[in-house]
Symmetry: C2
Subunit: 379 residues, 2 copies
């Protein structure tokens, strides 16, 4: 194998593929980057137990300055190879497998020789044989991920809750995540209805990595599902993730229908107040803040307290406060995550009672996006 290439083009795709490569893996060859040189271009592959990323650098794109002299394949130590490539002295580089798996990397007067591995020993990528695919706008998909992954569980005790539940039915796409203390649910209408119904659970970590790769270059995301794998296509990039096996709990019954006490806030203003109150709650053993709502006085007040350090009290600006008086305590960190997911909007918060979950929805669109938080009993 021998080729020369524009270094910036190579580094860009190397960075993409490297997202899937971990130095902490039990399969040594997966710490490597697989490079395959063929007539039509260069394929880079990186993988770990959960995700695999593959990208093609085209020969016929002049910007790549890709000149393939000998086709072939090699696996190179990813982290180390990356550092070399990023520090090479000139704009182009040549890679040449010289002797067995010894690989020479040259650029200007600098010449590196590093030990590679046999590409035949690199695992095969999963095969997704379906041609049925769903295409979504990258922006929308990124938003769905951002709004739901916050509620994914980080604990492996119930592995199924470390994923986001995707349900596709007709032209409806619903994503739900819950760690059993809070829940995020987002619905969007698909541009074109799917021919089949899908019900899958995608690991939250895979979605977080995927969302980092959705950018200006990749306006659309195409999703293809098989029994235990999902493939996302972003232009020339293929992103594979395993699916989580098992049945996701029925979350629809968790969401209360009506609220006894409801109130509207500006999301960033409420977030700032929660951040202040959490300064105190973080210093105390049980991390809770208290909210009192008094529709009769039109007053909403937040309290934070730490026996060692002190306390805070703040009257909040709110609109449309109606219903019964209520005193409720909750983990401010869940509230912060939820509020950040709304961005710069007005939200409606609906409470049932001091011990029942409460919900947050955008006042402009109360049907398609909901955050739910379970309160904490403090008495």
């Amino acid at each position: 194998m021998k080729f020369s290439i524009n270094r910036a083009s190579f580094v860009k795709e190397l960075n993409n593929v490297s997202r899937a490569i971990s130095s902490k893996t039990t399969i040594p060859i997966l710490t490597g980057l697989k490079i395959v040189a063929a007539e039509n271009g260069l394929t880079l592959t990186g993988s770990n137990a959960d995700i695999s990323i593959e990208t093609l650098i085209h020969t016929d794109d002049a910007d790549n300055q890709l000149d393939i002299e000998d086709t072939g394949a090699i696996v190179l130590p990813a982290r180390f190879f990356s550092e070399i490539v990023k520090r090479l002295p000139t704009d182009t580089m040549t890679l040449n497998v010289v002797d067995g798996f010894q690989t020479e990397i040259t650029s200007g007067t600098a010449s590196f020789t590093i030990n590679g591995l046999d590409a035949n020993n690199y695992p095969h990528l999963p095969e997704i044989d379906t041609t049925d695919s769903i295409t979504l706008s990258g922006d929308v998909f990124k938003e769905i991920i951002r709004q739901t992954v916050i509620a994914v569980s980080t604990q492996e005790s119930r592995p199924i809750l470390t994923g986001v539940h995707f349900i596709l039915d007709g032209d409806q796409f619903m994503a739900v995540a819950t760690d059993s203390h809070r829940l995020s649910q987002r619905k969007v209408a698909l541009p074109a209805p799917t021919s089949e119904t899908y019900d899958v659970i995608i690991p939250g970590k895979s979605l977080t990595e995927l969302s980092k790769m959705i950018g200006e270059d990749n306006p659309d995301v195409e999703m293809r599902l098989s029994e235990n794998q999902v493939l996302f296509l972003l232009g020339d990039l293929s992103f594979y993730s395993r699916l989580l096996e098992g049945n996701y709990p029925d979350t629809s019954r968790l969401i209360p229908k009506d609220g006894d006490t409801t109130v509207d806030f500006n999301a960033p203003e409420l977030l700032a107040a929660i951040e202040r109150a959490s300064l105190l709650s973080h210093e105390s053993r049980n991390n809770v803040v208290k909210l009192t709502l008094k529709p009769s006085d039109g007053a909403v007040t937040i309290f934070g307290n730490s026996p060692d350090v002190g306390n805070v009290e703040e009257e909040l600006e709110s609109q449309n406060l109606t219903g019964n008086d209520l005193e409720i305590s909750f983990n401010p960190d869940y509230m912060k995550d939820a509020l950040r997911s709304f961005g710069q909007t007005e939200i409606k918060v609906s409470f049932t009672s001091a011990l029942r979950p409460f919900t947050l929805v955008p006042t402009e669109d109360t049907e398609n996006f909901i955050q739910l938080i379970t309160p904490v009993r403090t008495f």
Copy 2:
């Protein structure tokens, strides 16, 4: 004590003073920030075992919006108080010591109550009774610090080497640091000669903190020395550091007078090549790179090697290569620190032999700035 103040003015000085405050201290009150409200303004003080910083916020500067209602003093938990102040909702804040040492911080509708400490228990700052002072341009002083602290020892086995040796004699100011493997020495002419001769050792860590505070607001640095303390005055800021006790080794005899092999490099180009070579040396047990100089061929080549990973070889661009052929090995990390201290300049490197220290100086000014590195024996 009660005052109200513009929050941005307060935060700026709070950040300055906080540099001296550590949460890891054996004296609990030093985790606190001392605030003293007097007629002329607000004095903030922070301190740890080594350095103390004090600053005055003037009442008569209208930008501060400082209104002192009751004079007095308090010590507040620094880290926590800082976080509160930075998150307050409005542009102004009021601080009020209400009951014993309980302190109320209000801004808009938010009200914090935190537990303070008696300011009478806060240690007194060192007294510097001299009026003799040396004034230097902030830019020059910052450069002196940057160029010398890199060679300060980080090991406490020889505490004296953790400091920078300052010698002031007449209109000459010399700063030297060495960790016994390398040495940095910088000389500058003082704008006005000192009346006395000073010979002091200032902890490298103190100088690093000090240099962060020299900025656009503080064009000049005034230095006052006492027997075991130094005071730097930067506008309204007072920065105190203890001095290191003991005799600094005589470093003048370490610097070789002539070189047998000399060569000129562009500092950033050489730095980039050393960074490439160190990628390999960092993977090997003994972190060394090798340089071969062949004046007969006009060639300088650098080598890096790791038995596990591979090797690198690069021919370097150089000028004015003269003297004997030489092969020399050294720690590339020392070389990187030294080269960074030169910035975008041409440098002259002078070698004596493979086992004797070599020196780097700017080709434009060979007298006032020198970096010295001891090679590593590899045979």
